[in-house]
């Protein structure tokens, strides 16, 4: 399964779930599958997409919120899984696109190309609903379950590099305003 195919499996199951995408290839390929207002594309802050998604999930406990992370990015902020394991937001789904490499910076291997196992790490850090998927069918089943049953979830999709063909708009403020507008998060400031 390529990363592009894995993101396609996700996109076919989405309705009104906000998705926070890690910078680089995950964000590029999420965009390539079809732009939507509820996609929050990060252009920096590597490692924080799962944490941003956690914040959105805490703010909107009645919506499913999806983090689209990468193995290299998540390894920069593995503590985020401990925080999620401790506060257990039932509406958060973390989908880790594990290509065992820093794809956006040229394919240098990450620790998951060796012994590191992100699903096992998630379980060790207190996240009970986890899955690993090596093909589109298994990923589709895991995602379907995660959208229906209480989490938090960590789903690791073992993927191969696909080579992005498009990039989302570079206007960060426009990405944010559109996302917040669709989410219904804009409100007046208290005085």
């Amino acid at each position: 399964m390529t990363r592009f195919e894995a993101i396609g499996v996700l996109c076919r199951q989405l309705s009104d779930e906000p998705v926070v995408a890690s910078l680089g290839h995950p964000a590029y390929e999420l965009f390539a599958h079809g732009d939507r207002a509820l996609n929050f594309y990060t252009w920096g802050s590597m490692g924080l997409s799962t944490s941003i998604a956690l914040g959105v999930a805490l703010a909107h406990p009645n919506r499913r919120v999806i983090a689209l992370d990468g193995d290299g990015s998540l390894l920069m902020n593995l503590g985020s899984l401990a925080t999620i394991g401790a506060c257990r937001p039932s509406n958060l789904v973390v989908l880790v696109l594990d290509n065992e490499a820093y794809g956006t910076t040229g394919g240098q291997p990450t620790a998951t190309s060796g012994e590191a196992d992100i699903e096992a790490a998630a379980r060790a850090l207190g996240i009970r609903r986890t899955a690993s998927a090596r093909d589109a069918h298994a990923l589709g089943d895991a995602l379907q379950e995660s959208l229906a049953e209480a989490g938090p979830w960590v789903i690791v999709a073992k993927v191969t590099e696909s080579g992005p063909t498009a990039k989302p708009p570079l206007d960060c403020v426009a990405i944010k305003n559109r996302f917040m507008g669709e989410l219904g998060g804009q409100r007046a400031v208290s005085r």
Binding site: S45, S51, G55, V56, A59, N77, G79, S80, C87, V189
Partner: protein
């Protein structure tokens, strides 16, 4: 009610009052001794606050940014040393996307410090914030705490920028024979 064996300092009560008046209901926190007194004041006197402990300050910025995207007005509580851990997130997430943040910063490395390892980050914090164009306000006296936090928060959430409220050790750390 607060633990009767421990009286909370009025600066901590003031910060808690300011956060409440602002409409803040979420606190994302990396542990620190003086800051824990703000959390105690929130628990004692203000209903409805949710506190989340992050493993690292950069992670805390990500969580708070997500809360803002969801329409909340969270506060970020951390030591000055921890602000150093947040800098790329401040630049590439908060500033680039115009996402507000209210930092409540317990100072290390300023007057009264005993640990030399805390000094380089602490003494350069204001310069670092200035370099990022982040406005910072220092609470010099207990009675300023509420108004300073409220004003910092209005600036942050009203104009969608990060703002830092600095709590010096002279304020937060009792000195024998002096502040109790």
């Amino acid at each position: 009610m607060p633990d009767p064996t421990r009286s909370l300092p009025s600066w901590a009560a003031g910060v808690a009052d300011g956060l409440d008046a602002l409409g803040c209901r979420d606190v994302v926190y990396v542990p620190d001794n003086p800051l824990s007194q703000i959390l105690e004041a929130l628990r004692a006197w203000h209903a409805g606050f949710r506190t989340l402990t992050a493993t690292r300050e950069e992670e805390a910025v990500g969580i708070a940014a997500g809360l803002c995207l969801g329409g909340k007005q969270p506060a970020l509580l951390m030591q000055s040393s921890g602000v150093g851990n947040t800098l790329n997130a401040v630049g590439s997430l908060l500033l680039a996307y115009q996402i507000p943040a209210l930092f409540i910063v317990s100072m290390r490395g300023d007057a009264g410090e005993w640990n030399s390892a805390q000094v380089p980050m602490g003494r350069s914090l204001r310069g670092v914030l200035d370099a990022f164009g982040i406005q910072h306000l220092t609470v010099e006296r207990d009675e300023e705490a509420r108004a300073t936090v409220l004003a910092a928060g209005q600036l942050a959430f009203g104009t969608r920028v990060p703002v830092a409220c600095l709590l010096p050790r002279r304020l937060t750390v009792p000195v024998e024979g002096g502040r109790g």
